[in-house]
């Protein structure tokens, strides 16, 4: 059994805790949260041994792995403390708020050969996996544009009382919501080299962003658009959609379905015809041993456990991979400058020329 501890027992933490405790290969030996109220209830009604002090928990418990689900500001210190003790680490997104911290932690995890994974669960959603697979296989030809949208009804009022409304804590739609969308783009088409046309606005929030828009620039000349708004009540819950345009067609995917329009057939989709093929979550989702809110939450924990058993340190959602999203966030905030492609680089022209001279 993989002896695991959890730190951070808020909304996501409790969901992770339930999944971890239901996993056959993981033994949750202890939990930690700053809220004594919560840990009292948990220890009394669920029998979980709880600590108030994170460092003491790491000192006192014999552990193999740690799951971090605390507010984003605390990720870096806690991940570092765990890596120093030789623990495998699963950390909620965003990985870190400061790219320099992230680089240091990537190096540490890799040097120590520890399993490291970040909670970008969209990479475990069947419809998004299918989109990534098809784009990688080249069914769209030369990709020239990607659009990623994430909308939800998270902040609809001026009053904000939690860490999510505090900039210093890593709150705001950019750090908390947009990072999912950014990582999804990285997953499906790759990470952009630069961003521009950034719009960041608090609609109801005073201190943080409620919406973020920008243009993405790829090294090969392709472009992208990011649109994120977590103050839209017309959405019942978080809704993320990605569309990818290429010379051979288009793919649009959300959590439930992957819609593919092909101008030409491709071996990666043997059953498709020209025109529309729609693949649904019922076709694309692999069964999980325990379900809570979505297969992807269980699948990512199962992946983490499997990585530890197999010694897989280069799998999906590593710190290194997740840091790419943090880099793009820092480009959006203007903290760093990306590598804008040279003028005149145009993906489509390259693609068309390449085909002419095939």
């Amino acid at each position: 059994m993989i002896r695991t501890a959890m730190v951070g027992l808020g909304k996501m933490g409790l969901s992770h805790l339930a999944i971890l405790r239901a996993h056959p290969a993981l033994e949750v030996v202890a939990g930690c949260d700053s809220s004594a109220y919560l840990t009292d209830i948990l220890s009394k009604y669920s029998g979980l041994k709880c600590h108030a002090d994170f460092d003491r928990m790491l000192d006192e418990e014999k552990l193999d792995a740690l799951v971090v689900a605390t507010p984003s500001k605390l990720h870096a210190t806690m991940v570092e403390a765990a890596l120093k003790r030789g623990l495998h680490v699963f950390c909620e997104k965003p990985f870190v708020l400061d790219v320099a911290d992230g680089q240091r932690l990537v190096a540490m995890a890799e040097a120590k050969g520890l399993v490291n994974q970040v909670g970008y669960h969209f990479r475990f959603v069947g419809a998004f996996k299918e989109a990534a697979r098809l784009v990688k296989a080249g069914v769209l030809g030369a990709v020239h544009h990607v659009r990623i949208e994430a909308f939800g009804p998270v902040v609809l009022r001026p009053k904000g009382a939690t860490w999510r409304s505090a900039k210093s804590e890593g709150g705001g739609a950019l750090y908390d919501y947009a990072c999912h969308a950014i990582d999804l783009v990285n997953f499906v088409v790759g990470a952009p080299a630069a961003v521009d046309g950034v719009v960041r606005r608090g609609i109801f929030s005073r201190d943080v962003d409620d919406e973020v828009y920008c243009t993405l620039r790829y090294a090969d000349g392709a472009s992208g658009q990011l649109s994120v708004n977590w103050s839209d009540e017309s959405f019942r819950k978080m809704s993320t959609k990605i569309s990818v345009w290429g010379t051979h067609g288009r793919i649009t995917a959300d959590r439930q379905e992957c819609q593919i329009f092909l101008r030409e057939l491709h071996p990666a989709l043997p059953d498709a015809s020209k025109g529309w093929t729609v693949r649904y979550t019922t076709d694309l989702t692999e069964e999980v041993w325990y379900y809570l809110r979505g297969e992807e939450y269980s699948a990512q924990i199962d992946y983490f456990a499997e990585s530890i058993v197999k010694g897989r340190t280069q799998g999906e959602n590593t710190f290194r991979s997740a840091l790419e999203a943090d880099r793009i966030v820092s480009m959006i905030t203007g903290q760093s400058v990306g590598n804008p492609p040279p003028p005149g680089a145009q993906a489509v022209r390259k693609g068309v020329l390449a085909r002419m001279f095939k």
Binding site: L14, A18, Y37, T282, E287, Y291
Partner: protein, 291 residues
Amino acid sequence: MDRVLFGDNQFFGVNHMSEDKARAQAMHFQTTQAIIDVLDAAHQEGIRTFMCTTHDRMSEICDYFRANRDRYPDYKFYPCMPYAHKYANAVTEHGMIEALRMFLPQGGAMSAMLKGGVALAGKDVETIMQLLIDAEMKMFHDLDTPVVFMQNVITDLLLGLRMNDTFRMFHDHVRKKYQAEPGFITMNVPRLLDVLDSLGIENPIVCANINKIGFRMCGGKEHYEQTIATRRFRPVAMSVLASGAIAPREAIEYVCRQPRVEAIVFGASSRGNIRQTKALIDELSINQGAA
């Protein structure tokens, strides 16, 4: 329990297969009248039990049924609580403890508010749960609610967290205060049954996905089939069409073939679909010799 129960996903923009379809339905069912028209259509097809979440909009539906008792003398509601997004959004906005406080009695009798405050301060989970159940049940006052369900997000969260006593608390309060049968909606049937067995909760009503393609049947289709055949509980089948992935006749034939499935819950938005589904269930239930 009636054999055929009517579900509410289509009314509140929930469609597990397609977000676009979900949105179209949310637009169509903006008005209470649109919802009532569909419930009427179902009623005319002989469906008189509505299995519904405790969405805020349900209180208008309840008002209508209270005001029109004569038209629906035999109508029953099976409340499913809580409507998870209501709580999740509150937790995101206010944090966990403040959100809990918001859902405990805020107005009305001073004693209720005090009771909530004391329970919250004393971490008296049983009282907190009773008060939350009472808050969720309020909209159904003076309506017939013979079965009260725990919604699957909560069931499966408590199941995973191993807070097993909460199932007994729910069970006892629903029985004692509402003289109703408690039910549990879950995506993890075998695991839940083990826990309910250990608590001495006998022959529970359990609502879960039961469909031909094994969609969201944790433990696998064969395991579910075996569980249904051999363990003592009262299965209610949902997602029998797997959100549209299985053709109706094939889908219903599979579910009716399982022994002892007591009821089937489905949702639809057109009279045609309601009629077709009900007719198929009636036809295929008789053929299987089911009740």
